[in-house]
Symmetry: C2
Subunit: 127 residues, 2 copies
DNA sequence: CAGAATCCATTCGGATACTG
DNA sequence: CAGTATCCGAATGGATTCTG
């Protein structure tokens, strides 16, 4: 992905020694940078065992392909757990894994803060 | 920037009453979902008054256009403050606003957590 | 119901110039 | 140094359709 010639990926000469906050780009942060990803974690965590339909309804306007992709990525990342019940009306429930819980614990305040900030930015000259 | 045709992007009716964790999509969370956005906030906060070159160096592999766009968006969102000194070697410094500080306060633990998680996922079979 | 598959429009992001 | 402008490939995200 990035460049890894042969030198260390660390900072050969860091401008400041404290700037190591950027993960290698390709990890969890990349997943979270996808659309709805963060909200998805938060939503599933809020609902609890969330069915596909519930999540879809919560987002009100996300295409199934996108939502499906996002769910799949999060499941594969070990953030969500998918349980499929082989019943006649097929039921699938997503819920946060232990890792996902931790993540949600970090995301919740962030999203909340973002919402608050967002409310105060309505009268902003956007263009 | 995003999409603002003329229709409402809001949700007139909330599907579930307990699921309100999803901000209206188009606010700060959307900005943060762009590439490098979160890391950028964290980096600038870590460096302090960060020059463009510093940030660029910190990311090691980001095109100037992308970085510039990201910086611009964050500035316009009131998260970063840009100070331009009209000196002969042009110097521009970015730093977190008060809002940005708050944001970084939320992002730091998240990114840190992500890094830790990322380290344990190296042996993943990714195509 | 839950999603996979397909197709397509949009956008993003990267590389490469080129300025003040 | 600090960007902007442009071009283009790749990826994303959306709508639709179909299936178990």
């Amino acid at each position: 992905m990035t460049e890894t010639p042969d030198s260390v990926t660390e900072a050969p000469e860091t401008p400041n020694s404290e700037v190591d906050c950027l993960c290698p780009l390709g990890g969890v942060m990349d997943l979270l940078s996808r659309r709805y990803a963060m909200q998805l974690v938060c939503v599933v965590g809020a609902i609890g065992p969330a069915r596909y339909g519930d999540v879809e309804a919560a987002f009100d306007g996300v295409s199934s392909s996108t939502l499906s992709a996002r769910l799949d990525e999060l499941v594969e990342a070990g953030i969500l757990a998918r349980e499929q019940y082989a019943e006649i009306p097929p039921r699938v429930e997503y819920e946060l894994t232990d890792t996902g819980e931790e993540l949600r614990d970090h995301l919740s305040p962030l999203i909340r803060w973002a919402e608050e900030l967002d409310e105060g930015t309505i009268s902003r000259t956007q263009e």
